[in-house]
Symmetry: C2
Subunit: 230 residues, 2 copies
DNA sequence: TCAAAAGTGTTATTGATACACCCATGA
DNA sequence: TCATGGGTGTATCAATAACACTTTTGA
């Protein structure tokens, strides 16, 4: 029964946007995310996930995509619903239910990203002290990213159209936080059929020129994903 | 930014409730779910998932639990968020965003379940022609149930406190829809440490008395689950 | 010719699967 | 003693991990 009762709560859509950048101290590639400084109560002055109220004429994923555009200037490459947070006490004052998405930004697009006002990027694992329950949300999104990359080809969303297996491996290593054996990685990726060789090679390297691959669209979609027109 | 804008949409919580019962024709145990007949427009007369508007003072999971109580007379054994559905056009007329949960009912509790008015149970795989986008939701919940049972001890939510491995195996077979090798099933279940022997045995069988087990609470919780006070 | 990363080959280990076989009970 | 499902043993095959080794380039 989806009733017609008028309700005294607001519905917001927020997004955890991940991009891979070098860690400022170690230099190793690691997930980063953009946060927005709150300019009003509650939690004025604190950092929070980018988001906003759901518009009447906007699908949930569209709202998340618009947020991504506003904060990073980019269109979503991978956009997926994470979870709906709606505990009564999660926001002081008004009741707010937040539907949270997570998005992945490609390394080449990330390079030409432009931050909006009051937007700053942080190393995802170091984030804490956020407004609302956003610490928990970021933690959950990171866990999900790390779990999903092991059984789904989402890593492709971080690389350019054509890529070397070393670049793809760097994505896995950045997300999982550990080194992977290049030989076994190559075999596993090729065996699952999610990439196919373009026949072209990178030139100008000081070593054997690596082959270029592209992701195989026939294999890239999993049955358990809800299809949404982004 | 979780803004304070007033919105012209309603927020509902619906629940896909699964119980295992014999299939009316084949006799094999299979997932069933309760549906509610709609008594008003839109979709008047059609079957729909049990649910209702989110109350101001109610957490999301509490709302789903109340729905389960109303339709089956039972308290939730396993209750978990499935997905938030909110496309603009999913409900004619008013904009409705539905946060959908799924619940599992134990076989012993299911036996003493009492249906509410206009509530009827159906074989989950045969359900179609529901109101709104509920066909898609049921399909998605079934997919998730079948996927999750392979890597998480949710099967325990279908059996009594003490159970034989044959009973637990019947749950897996009912959900997955195929027979499992009893010998290998035993080893896999015991190896993952999610069950422990009680030391007691079933008596009165016309064959070797099977041992009774209980689920091991230390192992039963996975890191990727959001903790909710049901 | 040397360094460095691409790419191939080989072996050991682990886990899944299939299935033969013994055990304990009631009828 | 027979039928029935509980429970154990074991061989086979596939996936994973570890690592030695060859290839191709620029410097």
């Amino acid at each position: 029964m989806e009733s017609t009762t008028q309700q005294c709560l607001s519905l917001a859509v927020s997004t955890v946007v991940f991009a891979l950048r070098p860690h400022p101290s170690t230099g190793r590639t690691t997930p980063w995310l953009p946060l927005v400084r709150r300019i009003r109560e509650p939690y004025e002055g604190l950092w929070a996930l980018p988001g906003g109220p759901l518009e009447d004429d906007q699908d949930l994923a569209d709202s998340a995509g618009a947020t991504l555009l506003r904060t990073t200037g980019l269109a979503p490459r991978h956009l997926e619903q994470l979870y709906a947070f709606g505990n009564v006490d999660r926001s002081p004052g008004e009741r707010v239910v937040s539907i949270v998405y997570w998005a992945l930004v490609r390394r080449d697009e990330d390079a030409r990203a432009i931050d909006g006002d009051n937007v700053e990027w942080f190393v995802a694992d170091d984030v804490h002290g956020l407004a609302f329950d956003h610490d928990v949300i970021v933690r959950y999104a990171l866990d999900r990213l790390r779990a999903k990359i092991t059984y789904s080809p989402i890593a492709h969303a971080f690389v350019t159209d054509e890529f070397t297996l070393a670049q793809l491996r760097e994505v896995y290593e950045a997300v999982l936080g550990r080194a992977l054996d290049p030989a076994n990685f190559r075999r596993q990726i090729l065996a699952q059929g999610a990439v196919e060789p373009t026949g072209r090679h990178v030139t100008g390297t000081s070593h054997r020129p690596p082959a270029l691959y592209r992701s195989n669209p026939a294999h890239s979609r999993h049955s358990l994903t809800i299809e949404e027109t982004s």
